[in-house]
């Protein structure tokens, strides 16, 4: 593979070894045995803009001649010209600006009219830098470098992206989380009316983000969803929410459940029949991102912006990095997909090791009896938690104080891991009655689910009482519109189903034996 570069400045340092270069004059001599040709000119610094305009005309003529001489099957890459010096002597004199525009329009025409001809817009590279970074005048005058040699690597990256965009070497699919990614807030907690999307801040950010994604899907990118939510809630929302832009029909596949996201993504790849390496996963939650990153290394997981108003900028950068495409040609795309799918299917090896991953998170559970500092948070959690909440009892701060005075037991759960401290995210309230301990309230924040923490927490607390000689426990599940995910929690924990009253389920447990607790999780207990 050898490429030939037509140029008027020193550009060797911007290309690798597979390139050879024209001389600096306008002779149009070239090596006919090269595989591809690049038309890569800079606008010189000349105070006389008439001379520059003439030069641009001359370049056009020469390009015309080249196109006649060049074998039609050979690719030709045309680079636009930027007036990088751009000193405007008279503000209303647009002659040079117009000549540059005409030249670039001429290249554009050529790229449409000649087979195998592509236009690369150098402004997409230039724009990333200020002029003083872009040009090192010392090297300009000593060595005829226009682009600062310190940016050579950046330039090569940019160029390889341009080639990739022609060769359809791009990723195929964006997998999106929902809560706080496609809209503000948490659907399961805030409800359909409470999520942020629409015309006002911060909903306007998410509206724009959804619109950007919609355009991406028109440019051939597959959209998919992977979210911890109740599927029915989301399907209803997609049907009924007036301000949503992306709805069920825009997503080629979705996994909305409480399973591990890495498993879900592997399922999505199978369903869509695409390779994991062609997927980009976007999620606001760093724990989810790291889980996916560590378990399925092939999936690309960009950092989510700290501030949601950075979402459009974030989207642009991931689009430019992973999804650039030169031209959408449905036939080519279909062929490409067919041809690739077999190879990719073979690649779908499940390197899944969730247990190892969870271990590597270094999760620490801190379990503490309630005290006066945690009472406000305890009350708040009973008021706000809907999804992982077995009985959905709402309590005020004074209710909590009263419980403690009556000798009931309240324990809070704080969860921290190597990514940070989540603070108090769970609690259990137990009441003693006739030597039986009744679990009045059990709730956890959804953001810590998916690591089996809920079982370890409850088992640990029950063990405290079993050790003290308590044998009988009772518990119940009171269904609401939002807590379906925990309907069989006590069954899984090992309680015995006793009876049903209306929709409510009641359980008991008689136990002398301590529960076995997962050894990979560290538990700190403060008496």
């Amino acid at each position: 593979m050898k490429n030939f570069v037509f140029r008027n400045y020193t550009v060797e340092y911007l290309f690798d070894k597979n390139y050879v270069f024209s001389d600096y004059n306008s002779s149009l001599l070239f090596d006919e045995n090269c595989d591809a040709y690049l038309w890569f000119y800079f606008l010189p610094i000349k105070s006389n803009s008439l001379l520059l305009i003439e030069e641009l005309k001359d370049l056009k003529n020469r390009l015309n001649i080249l196109c006649e001489k060049l074998e039609p099957s050979k690719p030709l890459y045309l680079f636009t010209i930027e007036d990088f010096y751009s000193l405007q002597y008279v503000n209303s004199d647009f002659n040079l600006i117009k000549a540059v525009e005409d030249y670039n329009a001429f290249l554009r025409e050529k790229s449409f009219n000649r087979e195998n001809t592509y236009l690369f817009d150098v402004s997409t590279f230039f724009r990333k830098f200020s002029n003083s970074d872009l040009i090192d005048w010392k090297f300009y005058y000593t060595s005829q470098f226009v682009i600062n040699p310190k940016l050579a690597k950046e330039f090569k990256n940019w160029l390889s992206k341009q080639y990739d965009s022609i060769n359809y070497k791009r990723k195929k699919c964006i997998i999106l989380d929902l809560d706080n990614t496609l809209w503000g807030g948490i659907l399961g907690e805030d409800g359909a009316e409470g999520i942020k999307i629409g015309n006002t801040y911060p909903g306007n950010i998410f509206s724009d983000f959804q619109n950007l994604l919609l355009e991406a899907s028109k440019a051939g990118i597959i959209l998919a969803v992977c979210s911890k939510n109740n599927e029915k809630d989301v399907l209803d929302l997609w049907k009924t929410h007036p301000d949503l832009i992306l709805r069920e029909e825009h997503f080629s596949a979705y996994k909305i459940n409480w399973n591990n996201k890495a498993e879900n993504i592997i399922e999505l790849a199978k369903e869509l029949n695409i390779g994991l390496e062609s997927m980009v996963f976007v999620d606001d939650n760093p724990v989810e991102r790291n889980l996916v990153k560590e378990i399925i290394k092939d999936v690309t997981v960009p950092d989510f912006p700290d501030k949601i108003y950075q979402l459009p900028e974030f989207f642009k950068s991931i689009y430019n990095k992973y999804f650039q495409i030169y031209k959408i040609n449905s036939e080519d795309m279909a062929k490409l997909n067919q041809y690739k799918s077999n190879a990719e299917r073979a690649k779908l090896k499940t390197s899944l090791n969730i247990k190892e991953y969870l271990k590597s998170l270094e999760t620490v559970l801190s379990i503490k009896p309630a005290d006066k500092f945690t009472i406000p948070r305890i009350s708040q959690m009973t008021q706000k938690t809907n999804q992982f909440n077995l009985t959905t009892q709402r309590y005020s701060e004074s209710d909590i104080v009263k419980f403690l005075e009556q000798g009931n037991f309240i324990y809070t759960l704080s969860v921290k891991d190597k990514f940070g401290d989540n603070g108090i995210t769970g609690l259990i309230i137990l009441k003693e009655q006739d030597k039986t301990l009744i679990i009045d309230t059990l709730l956890l924040s959804c953001r810590i689910l998916g690591r089996n923490i809920e079982y370890d927490f409850v088992k640990f607390v029950l063990n405290i009482f079993i050790e003290k000689g308590c044998k009988n426990f009772k518990s119940s599940y009171l269904p609401t519109l939002k807590n379906k995910q925990v309907e069989d929690f006590y069954d899984k924990l090992g309680f015995t189903f006793e009876y049903r009253e209306k929709e409510n389920k009641f359980y008991n447990l008689e136990s002398k034996k301590l529960f076995e607790i997962n050894k990979d999780v560290k538990i700190e207990y403060y008496e």
């Binding site: 020193t10 060797e12 340092y13 010392k138 090297f139 005058y141 000593t142 060595s143 470098f145 040699p149 310190k150 050579a152």
Partner: protein, 75 residues
């Protein structure tokens, strides 16, 4: 000195061990004009300095570069 040899080796694609004290443009085949500029850019980046054109043309051997750097970095 070692850092400089590493830069020279990387720029001209040779082994560090092949760089003797008399190493210069005259006895290195790959040290052409583009190579020279790559070398200057690498030195500027490594030592976070800007080298003036008058110096650049003189820096054609390990010795002259060392002298230059000793002077420049001592200040």
């Amino acid at each position: 000195m070692n850092k400089l040899k590493e830069i020279l080796a990387e720029t001209f694609e040779i082994e560090v061990s092949a760089i003797g004290n008399d190493f210069s443009q005259d006895n290195c085949e790959t040290w052409d004009s583009i190579g020279h500029l790559n070398l200057i850019v690498a030195i500027e980046e490594e030592f976070n300095i800007s080298i003036e054109p008058e110096e650049i043309i003189k820096m054609t051997s390990l010795k002259t570069i060392m002298n230059y750097l000793n002077e420049k970095l001592a200040v």
